[in-house]
Amino acid sequence: MERLRKIGDVVLKMEGISLAFGGVKALADVSFEVRAHEILAIIGPNGAGKSSMLNVINGFYRPQQGSITFHGRTRKQMEPHEAATQGIARTFQNIALFKGMSTLDNIMTGRNTMMKRNLLWQALYYGPALKEEIEHRAACERIIDFLEIEAIRRAPVGKLPYGLQKRVELGRALAAEPTLLLLDEPMAGMNLEEKQDMCRFILDVNDEFGTTIVLIEHDMGVVMDISDRVVVLDYGRKIAEGTPDAVRANQTVIDAYLGVAH
């Protein structure tokens, strides 16, 4: 597919990341780079350390070794609030929405870090606070339009089908206007039609806003179709990296997925 925005420089560099929970080594000396405007997929069998890697990127987990370079600044670990304010947003493998709140309110929470007025102003709901609220609402409505979820704007998300909840979660992540979007299995548990819709939205986000996307996915068809590059993890180690075609042909990857006699 032809791209509107050319893939640019490295925006995120993970170097020698190791993460252990007690004796369990989740990640062992993993290094890779993410470039501006690209879609990078992280794949691997269950327990390979994919979600852990996302959690390290946005500061949920603190790696014991290694360094993270984001927008030119190198640090040992990311702080979650720092990640959020610097333009990293994410979705979760098990949907983490506020079930009792409407689609619109859930998406509004994604703009939390951008709201400047303090609690008192917001409680007064007058003057600058009102103006700010209108601006944020307008931004959320653009996302609702973009993701074609107008019909469920007022519906409590707990009552929505799974595929739509996933879309709302993507909406909330987009509300933060991220430059780097982390998607943890955005298509898990979806039927074919929902998967196709989600693929289209991911590509559209990348195209329309130029957002860099790192995603974890199990569906190989999806990974091969939409990603520019693939990083393969197995037992916490990086075993391959490259274009989808190169990775598919890689014998180590095939062994990891199909299993070999040790």
């Binding site: 032809e2 973009f146 019909a151 007022r154 329309e208």
Partner: protein
């Protein structure tokens, strides 16, 4: 009612727009829900938008007589595109937004369309695909640029871009627009709308400005429409009904039309707008009623009880109160209580609080559904018409509503029933001719202006018209009794569990039928019984579901047995199809009417099985998915026998 001189001088839609901008320039003309807010344009703003677009199209070379197609959901910009085209003498050819590329290609190639205005990427993709078979298509204008940024085709332009060119053009030629609008004549062809093709390949019906404006005006006067009406424009823009309501009557009366946010939000938008004037095909009224009934079934026992009690009361006296007939004072009092507790809140939830006038047409509406709305106090009326008549032929008159008739002719229209039983009409709305189809025009329109409708019907003692069926579909049973398939199918479809039905019986000993279950209604019914199913095909063949339908068929038979002429056409065997009949597979038209000949041919083995005495039949069919891919599904269908109900005379 006298019409102001200024209005009668405006004999084309573009002139009416300018006229409205002069007389009620500050009043709302169009609304569209976008980004969650109702955006509004006044008549003056709409006129300016139309002027900019018309000048832009003229600058791009659209000439008098050129065809321009519009395709997309109801959007003000597409309505403007139609009028802008007319303003410079072009002819709009609106097409159905859900038609697949091949269908659209056929229409555009036949019409020789040069320009297209498309809503979004989806429609642009289709137009690009069919450009090869439509050599005359030169330019595609799109309203919404999303996803179109890397389309490099030189023949693509954005709506805003064209309007920008138009503004520059208008500055250079300040008199152009008013002069070209003044050139328009009432007798000119205003647009070509392609029929839905119930009877094979669709035909392009040419309607003149006079057709649209006079018909719109007559009907508006009949039911007292004014500039304060509110209407939701949500039906396909290519359909003549939407053209008459959203272009004709809105421009003639000067009322505002509102376009919903998306097809999925229509019911919510309906509630927000609270229209005073509403049109919906029976199917929509049926769907709304079904959704109400499903929610009532899930409500708590006291609420259910209250609903039942007051709906029974409404069924008894509601329609009479609406018609102004005498009703006992005690019932009136109870009805007023019901109004406060049930009817008012229910109408509010449905968005019908302000409806003064609701029309339905296109198919027969179930008498129960019809009575439900009338007893709630919604003034719903049936009308009868066609594309060839600019919609209005007959309308049910206030105060004399008969559920099974379609009413009396609107002012200016005459009707007569030919010896063959076919209904014919004549009036100001009679179409100009079929585009590039002289033969069909001659076959439909007599030299003295009568139009054959192809419907069989009769006029009763009150002068009200009743429609039985398509004239060519009325057949004979071997026993000699008449067989009116649509009549039987409608009776079946009036049950909420049955979505579609196809009856067979011409030249046969007895009548049989294919049925489609209504997945929402039967699905809910099954859930309440704790019945597990995996999908449509599975649910449709469950024995309890077949029992449910068996019951419906028996009731239809009892009904038929009570009408001596139709007693022979009781349904003796039926089966439930393994897939829903679908327009994508060519089984229904885009307006969801059955394409009988096609269905009969496609499912011939099943029809044979119905008459062979077997109790099962295997079938494999091709299906088209929404994304255009094709697949095959196969199933084994169970055939059920139903006993005939003895007619009264036989029993006696």
């Amino acid at each position: 009612m006298t019409i102001p001189a200024a209005a009668s001088a405006a004999d084309t839609l573009p002139k009416l727009v300018l006229d409205n901008a002069r007389r009620r320039g500050h009043r709302a003309a169009f609304r569209e829900k976008d980004y969650g807010i109702w955006q509004q344009w006044t008549w003056q703003q709409a006129a300016d938008e139309i002027r900019a677009l018309a000048c832009g199209l003229a600058a791009l070379g659209l000439k008098r007589g050129d065809k321009l197609t519009t395709v997309g959901d109801n959007r003000p910009r597409l309505y403007w595109a139609m009028v802008a085209t007319q303003a410079i003498g072009g002819v709009p050819v609106p097409v159905y937004q859900d038609s697949v590329a091949a269908e659209m290609g056929h229409v555009l190639a036949h019409a020789g369309v040069r320009f297209a205005v498309a809503e979004n990427q989806e429609q642009v993709d289709k137009l690009i695909e069919i450009k090869e078979i439509c050599p005359e298509l030169e330019l595609i204008v799109y309203c919404d640029s999303r996803g179109l940024k890397h389309y490099a085709q030189p023949y693509l332009k954005s709506y805003a871009e064209v309007q920008e060119m138009g503004r520059a053009f208008a500055t250079a030629n300040p008199d152009f627009f008013d002069a070209t609008v003044a050139c328009g004549q009432g007798g000119e062809v205003a647009l070509i709308t392609y029929t839905s093709g119930t009877t094979g390949q669709s035909k392009g019906v040419m309607l003149t400005f006079a057709n649209l404006i006079e018909t719109a005006r007559n009907a508006a006067q009949l039911d007292g429409l004014g500039e304060n009406e509110e209407m939701l424009s949500y039906l396909p823009m290519a359909w003549v009904g939407d053209i008459i309501f959203s272009l004709g009557q809105s421009y003639v009366c000067g009322f505002c039309i509102s376009c919903p946010e998306s097809a999925a939000t229509v019911l919510a938008d309906l509630r927000e707008i609270g229209p005073t004037y509403f049109f919906a095909p029976p199917r929509i009224f049926e769907n709304i009623l079904t959704s109400v009934m499903i929610r009532i079934e899930d409500a708590s026992a006291p609420k259910r009880g209250m609903f039942r009690y007051f709906m029974n009361l409404a069924r008894r006296v509601g329609a009479d109160i609406l018609d102004g007939k005498p009703v006992p004072p005690a019932d009136r009092l109870l009805y007023a209580l019901g109004e406060a507790l049930v009817y008012g809140p229910l109408r509010n939830v449905l968005g019908f609080s302000r409806v003064r006038l609701a029309y339905t047409a296109g198919e027969a509406i179930g008498p129960d559904i019809f009575r439900f709305y009338r007893s709630l106090g919604v003034n719903i009326k049936q009308l009868y018409g066609s594309t060839e008549s600019s919609v209005f032929v007959t309308v049910q008159p206030d105060g004399h509503i008969k559920a099974d008739s379609v009413g009396v002719p609107v002012p200016g229209v005459e009707i007569r029933v030919a010896e063959s039983g076919e209904v014919m009409f004549r009036g100001p709305g009679v179409f100009h001719s079929y585009y590039k189809n002289e033969e069909a025009t001659r076959a439909t329109k007599t030299p003295d202006g009568w139009v054959r409708t192809g419907d069989a019907g009769f006029v009763d003692a009150d002068g009200q018209l009743h429609i039985i069926d398509r004239a060519k579909d009325v057949g004979r049973m071997k026993s000699g009794g008449i067989f009116a398939p649509k009549y039987i199918e409608n009776k079946l479809k009036f049950f909420p569990y049955i979505r579609e039905a196809v009856a067979f019986g011409d030249e046969r000993d007895f009548v049989t039928a294919f049925l489609n279950i209504d997945l929402a209604a039967v699905g809910n019914w099954a859930e309440r019984r704790g019945l597990a199913y995996s999908g449509y095909a599975d649910l449709a063949q469950q024995p309890v579901v077949l029992d449910l339908l068996d019951d419906c068929v028996r009731k239809v038979n009892a009904d038929l047995a009570s009408e001596s002429r139709l007693a022979d056409s009781q349904i003796r065997r039926f089966l439930v199809l393994h897939k829903e009949l679908d327009a994508d597979d060519g089984e229904l038209t885009r307006t969801r009417k059955l394409r009988r000949a096609f269905v009969v041919e496609k499912y011939a083995p099943l029809a044979e099985a119905l008459y062979s005495g077997r109790d099962r039949c295997a079938i494999e069919t091709e299906v088209t998915f929404e994304n255009g891919r094709k697949g095959r599904i196969s199933a084994e269908l169970i055939i059920r026998d139903v006993p005939a109900v003895p007619t009264l005379c036989k029993a006696g």
